[in-house]
Amino acid sequence: MPERVATLSPIRLSVNGREYQLELDHRTTLLDALRENLDLTGSKKGCDHGQCGACTVMLDGRRANACLIFAVAAQTHDITTIEGVGAAGNLHPLQQAFIDHDGLQCGYCTPGQICSAVAMLAEVEAGWPSAVTPDVAAGPVDLDESETRERMSGNLCRCGAYVNIVAAIQDVVG
């Protein structure tokens, strides 16, 4: 059936250090490709609109909303999902801190929060200012509570775990 063929493309995705060859509908978002085709369901769909952050993954280490990227457009990136951040026995310090500080309740926003936080720490490391940075030219950013809250505001949490999420991140920053 010609129309069927026309809607599909061969796609190569590099996720968590593994290469995947897929044939996907052009309309498939990266989020749906991860969840429906690769069974990487740690990335969640809270809005499918770029408004909640539940789908946050990293593209070449930078955080991005997987629901806003078509899978065909993600082929040139190294993608990291929560499954690639750390697993049982080999947790990322942020994952452990979220457990210790109870930075989650229902856990649905949690993979996105953690991916976001991992990349956010790299942004701070690189000296990127935020909307609340007092002096954008002043050099290294002091990741205090206010900076943390601002930088984590792209990840909504309806359970209201923000207080503990900030505590978890602050603990890792030390």
Partner: protein, 692 residues
């Protein structure tokens, strides 16, 4: 062995949630899975004339277009929202008029987007007002409480009062918006239906599916191991579960139906808008002589839901003359339902704001005012309280918050462009239990498995129940596995009404004690193990007729920008008396979570009805703002030790809802203290601050 109940134990499923391993309802891969996408009505009232499925069915991958003409017939149930695709009638904009099923999500969605649906539209009526001509008194209010109450003579009391307050307060429609949209993955194995469903209690979803599809109890299994929040909107079955089960039956394939964020604004419930007139009369010292609380709110034409907004006034303050009433109007709108602390959340905003106004009018400190009006018995009805520690919460909070240093004069503290103020409000929520069943089995290796159809929607229930069972069985927690979220385990209460721990904890204690007695009788655990089952129906029926409530006090500090009207909340404190706290860590999180939602209710949340089209306009997170990380600063929640042996064997009252009760009033009262302007309508938007 020292017990674990009360200890700050980390969530058992925390590891699976921080690694992304935990599977929610839409996360189960199944061979041959197809996807359903809901098509919603674009009129608010009328009939579907026709659905032309022809073109859709020609699109690649499209398997079916299910409409009222070809849908499976369902058995009647008392909830019209579940009788999906059973007739052509349209009751509200956004109602399901078709389900398109495709091999992939993209195919189903594209076909649904272009599906031609013809309607015969009728004029709609979607706006609530206190003078609506079709207001009526419902038979009862949720869950089954009197619509109106009257003690004494309120008009006479008000006429003779030295001081009166008479104002109308309003709260808008608010949408629950759990982060996980409602989702169901359904499949049939012969005549047995299994659904992975996102809900607050698999028992209720099981019961609904059994009735709708006319099946035996044993022919339906509902599995809900991890649930991404609910806040009331997943309290019972929602139509996506029915659609998934129906389509799976019709097509003979596993089907998944996931609602979009936008669809949550019409298909799963929300908090009704309320218009509340509160009249208080007191002597010069602020002692109440009359309290009148009149509520107007909405329901739909599909299912009558009457929020119990005025019940807050029935328990809070002593007064010889007390009346409460609820009036509803059935509009052409989606059905409002439970949202965290239905009744108490909006009701407390009105009454606790009015109490602040009374304190101001009498020149009495707002904490002292509440202490002067502390009742000995339930103000409406006169039954004794099982325990009531509101005053202790107020005093403890006042001390922690340094309330004594507060200058009561409004509008006098300024820091640059910021006006500053503090406020207080009281909280309460009923402490009830409902019948549940559970089993506990002793394994040969010395470990135990507890099975019950509890739900952990983020409350920490799985962990708390493990603590409870470990203590009862006198073993460490790692010797106990608590399995929940599976209707095969037998009926149990939902995670709702703050009744989860009280109900499940009770039955787990009972089952564990039974098992220990059985082990003693057998002289040990037999080689093939031992199982004890328990049911608390009789125990709960035998409870004394008392008023059981938790209480609390919430304190807020705000800063109000005089130029922009922006409000910041640098500090919130909640002190609660909620019986025994099972897990100090998850309890604190849950209380803070409730207060965070209360802050969000105070400042941001508002679903705006579009009168022209007849639906909620702002149906995404861009238009419907919920508190984000930067909106929240310091929030502390704590509790006082409270022992109450009239509750349940654990002495727990439940904490899921009280955190949101009173928060908005505390913030509104603080805004008054900062600015000198009363805010009687939620949310307290910048434009309301700037032009009061």
């Amino acid at each position: 062995m020292s017990g674990t109940v009360g200890a700050p134990v980390s969530r058992i499923e925390g590891l699976s949630k921080v690694t992304g391993e935990a599977r929610y309802a839409a996360d189960f891969p199944l061979a041959g899975l197809a996807h359903g996408w809901i098509v919603q009505s674009t009129i608010a009232r009328g009939r579907v004339e026709s659905v032309d499925a022809g073109a859709a069915l020609q699109m690649p991958g499209v398997l079916a277009v299910v409409t009222a003409t070809n849908a499976m017939r369902l058995q009647d149930v008392d909830d019209g929202e579940l009788l999906v695709l059973q007739d052509q009638q349209v009751h509200y904009r956004g109602q399901t008029v078709a389900l398109v099923v495709g091999d992939t999500l993209e195919q189903a969605r594209a076909a649904a987007d272009g599906l031609p649906v013809e309607y015969q539209a009728e004029p709609h009526d979607v706006l609530l007002s206190a003078s609506h001509p079709r207001l009526f008194a419902p038979d009862h209010v949720n869950p089954n409480l009197p619509t109106d109450t009257l003690t004494g003579d309120v008009e006479a009391g008000l006429a003779g009062a030295a001081v009166t307050v008479d104002h109308t307060y309003s709260t808008p429609a608010e949408h629950n918006n759990p982060m996980e949209p409602h989702a169901t993955t359904a499949f049939w194995d012969g005549d047995r239906l299994t659904v992975y469903d996102s809900n607050q209690g698999a028992t209720r979803v099981h019961q609904a599916l059994v009735r709708l599809f006319g099946l035996e109890d044993s022919a339906v299994r509902v599995v809900s191991e991890h649930v991404g929040g609910g806040f009331g909107s997943k309290g019972g079955a929602r139509s996506q579960a029915v659609l998934a089960a129906m389509a799976a039956r019709m097509l003979g394939r596993p089907i998944r139906v996931v609602l979009s964020r936008k669809q949550l604004f019409s298909l799963v419930g929300y908090r009704t808008p309320t218009i509340q007139r509160v009249r208080l009369g007191s002597d010069r010292g602020g002692r109440l002589v009359a309290l009148d609380h009149q509520v107007v709110e909405q329901t739909s034409t599909v299912y009558e839901f009457a929020e119990q907004t005025a019940v807050f006034s029935r328990v809070m303050y002593a007064t010889p003359n007390l009346s409460t009433s609820h009036r509803l109007v059935a509009l052409d709108v989606p059905t409002p339902r439970w949202m965290r602390a239905p009744g108490e959340a909006p009701g407390s905003f009105a009454v606790e704001s009015a109490m602040d106004e009374l304190a101001e009018a009498c020149g009495v400190d707002p904490i002292e005012l509440r202490i002067r009006n502390e009742p000995v018995t339930e103000p409406e009805g006169g039954r004794p309280f099982s325990s009531r520690n509101l005053i202790a919460c107020l005093r403890e909070g006042a001390s922690r918050f340094r309330w004594a240093e507060r200058d009561p004069r409004p509008g006098t503290r300024r820091d640059g462009q910021w006006l500053m103020g503090t406020g207080v409000a009281a909280s309460t929520y009923p402490a009830r239990s409902a019948p549940s069943t559970a089993s506990v089995s002793a394994q040969e290796d010395g470990s135990f498995i507890v099975r019950l159809t509890a739900a952990d929607i983020g409350t920490g229930a799985r962990t708390a129940l493990t603590q409870v069972a470990a203590d009862e069985l006198q073993v460490p927690m790692d010797k106990v596995e608590v399995r929940i979220g599976d209707s095969d385990f037998g009926p149990a209460m939902i995670a709702g009404g703050s009744m989860g721990m009280a109900s499940w904890g009770w039955v787990v204690v009972k089952a564990c004690r039974q098992l220990i007695a059985d082990i003693d009788r057998c002289g040990g655990v037999p080689d093939d193990g031992l199982v004890a089952r328990a049911d608390t129906a009789d125990d709960i029926a035998a409870q004394a007729d008392l008023v059981r409530h938790s209480f609390g006090a919430q304190f807020a500090e705000v800063r109000v920008d005089v130029d922009t009207g922006e409000i910041r909340v640098p500090r919130l404190l909640g002190v609660f008396a909620a019986g025994r706290i099972v897990n100090a860590k998850t309890a604190r999180s849950q209380l803070i979570g409730g207060m965070t939602m209360g802050l969000s209710m105070a400042l941001f949340e508002e679903s705006l009805m579009d009168a022209e089209f007849g639906d909620y306009l702002n149906h995404d997170f861009a238009g419907y703002h919920i508190a984000a990380n930067a909106d929240v600063q310091r929030i502390d929640a704590t509790w006082i030790d409270e022992e109450d042996d009239q509750l349940n064997p654990l002495g727990v009252k439940g904490i899921g809802e009280i955190g949101i009760v009173g928060t908005a009033a505390a913030i509104a009262n603080a805004v008054y203290h900062a600015t000198g302007q009363r805010q009687r309508h939620l949310p307290i938007r910048p434009d309301r601050v700037l032009s009061p």
